[in-house]
């Protein structure tokens, strides 16, 4: 079923909307959640919470890209669950993702006059726009979908060493870009 049809089901408040969403994007939501929370049970819970959040968001929202919309919701839910579980257990893979992003920051001091989310996101958009498609996909797959290096290499049909190299260089470029646009610590 096309995304537009699924969205229409939400607007019609049809229960089939969730079924169709689960059928088409259930695997994707579980994958995103699994990469963050690190266990299957929490990932399923995140998936179910995602469906509820989408049901509550549509309407009034009519997303342009439904896959990205639902993926973003699943990601945020999984991240909240991660923070909830952080005190109890650790997810080595996701911790690695966070530690890598730590390199992009000049220092760890809290920004007193922190920029609004919208401005930081726009800066990031500008940075991503300047990247090549392959680099951008690798960056997003790593720091948005939280995919492992192995998964990215398999999806991109390239070697893991190349993925690591691209990520390393992209992080350096992001650090410089953030400094140039005032996103500093």
């Amino acid at each position: 079923m096309e995304d537009s049809q699924i969205i229409e089901l939400y607007w019609q408040r049809s229960e089939n909307a969730i079924a169709e969403t689960s059928k088409k994007y259930g695997k994707l939501c579980r994958h995103i959640a699994m990469n963050i929370v690190g266990n299957f049970s929490d990932a399923e819970e995140c998936e179910n919470d995602t469906y509820v959040a989408v049901w509550n968001a549509i309407p009034p929202t009519r997303p342009q890209i439904f896959s990205a919309f639902i993926s973003k919701i699943a990601r945020n839910i999984a991240l909240n669950r991660y923070e909830y579980n952080k005190a109890q257990k650790r997810n080595n893979q996701f911790d690695m993702v966070l530690s890598e992003l730590e390199e992009c920051l000049a220092c760890k001091q809290t920004v007193e006059d922190a920029m609004e989310e919208k401005e930081v996101a726009s800066v990031l958009d500008g940075f991503l726009e300047g990247l090549s498609k392959e680099k951008r996909v690798i960056f997003v797959r790593r720091y948005w979908y939280s995919d492992s290096v192995k998964e990215i290499a398999k999806r991109m049909q390239i070697s893991e060493s190349k993925v690591k190299t691209v990520l390393f260089r992209t992080r350096k470029e992001l650090q410089e870009y953030l400094l140039q646009h005032g996103v500093t610590v």
Partner: protein, 309 residues
């Protein structure tokens, strides 16, 4: 900003980028494994193409070289020709050993002439030149008839016969080819006289053709013979300046130049089979008539058989 905050901010990027990362499929040409395989296959194809090209080119050059057939083929033919002439020389020596020498043949030819001179000298008065010539004509003709009568005996040994004939035939064929190269002499030659005779079986192992020609002017002569099968072959003859005789064993060229006023005698040994017809043709390329070339005289062919002693 902490890494977690940055991570959350990354979550707020454009949805287009998120969808792009989800739908991205690397093209086949970006697949390194595929490109490496393709490059390997391309290299193999290039190497095979070079190899096949070299093979085809070398074969083509070999075909062109064989088609041209330059001097090497002529050299081979010359070597074969010389080998055949050597074999013919051996057979001629055998003939000499058997007691059939050229001197004997010459003597047999000269005897009629000597006898004629005696006859002429014994006559009263001065015989006219024409009468002398006429008698000279008659005696050779009688000799011819005698030769035909004598050509009854003799069985030719099959082995030597076939070998010799084959050698002579082969030599004649090779010489004929050289004649062709010299300018197609047979086509432009003027037939002066012919002689035909049928060899009868007998005890003779060798047959000889005696050709007596009296030359008035210098000319190149060619002697050729035709077998019963109609195959015209050139006889290998050579002009001997001293003895005015032509023997087969010295043959290197079928053309010979006869000086003015000289009498030329051809002696040719040819082994023929029983019942075979042989036609001997005396021809020339000179722009002379028969009378001019032969001085208005005669040419005579003898056919005889000899028995091996």
């Amino acid at each position: 900003m902490t890494e977690k905050e940055l991570f959350r901010e990354i979550g707020n990027i454009k949805e287009e980028y998120v969808a792009e990362a989800q739908e991205y499929k690397r093209s086949v040409w970006q697949n390194t494994v595929f490109r490496r395989s393709l490059a390997t296959a391309a290299c193999l194809l290039v190497c095979l193409g070079i190899y096949w090209g070299m093979e085809y080119f070398s074969k083509d050059m070999a075909m062109q070289e064989s088609a041209i057939a330059p001097e090497s083929c002529k050299d081979v033919e010359m070597e074969a020709f010389q080998a055949k002439t050597e074999s013919l020389q051996m057979t001629t020596e055998q003939t000499a050993d058997a007691g059939i020498a050229e001197e004997a043949l010459t003597e047999m030819v000269q005897k009629p002439a000597a006898a004629l001179e005696e006859e002429v000298s014994s006559t009263d008065g001065v015989a006219t030149e024409a009468e002398v010539d006429a008698k000279m004509v008659c005696i050779p003709a009688q000799r011819k008839e005698q030769a035909e009568t004598d050509a009854v005996q003799g069985m030719l040994p099959v082995g030597e016969q076939s070998n010799l004939k084959e050698n002579i035939t082969q030599a004649g064929m090779e010489q004929d080819s050289s004649l062709q190269e010299a300018g197609n002499l047979q086509d432009t030659s003027v037939k002066l006289d012919t002689f035909q005779g049928k060899i009868k079986s007998g005890k003779a192992q060798w047959d000889a053709f005696f050709i007596q020609v009296q030359q008035a002017k210098a000319a190149d002569l060619k002697l050729s013979y035709t077998t019963a099968e109609g195959k015209e072959e050139a006889v290998l003859v050579k002009y001997n300046a001293e003895e005015f005789q032509i023997s087969l064993d010295d043959a290197t060229d079928s053309m010979t130049t006869v000086p003015d006023g000289k009498e030329l005698i051809f002696s040719y040994l040819y082994l023929v089979q029983e019942g075979e017809w042989v036609e001997v043709i005396l021809a020339t390329e000179a722009d002379l008539t028969k009378e001019q070339l032969l001085g208005g005289e005669y040419s005579t062919f003898y056919l005889m058989q000899y028995e091996e002693e």
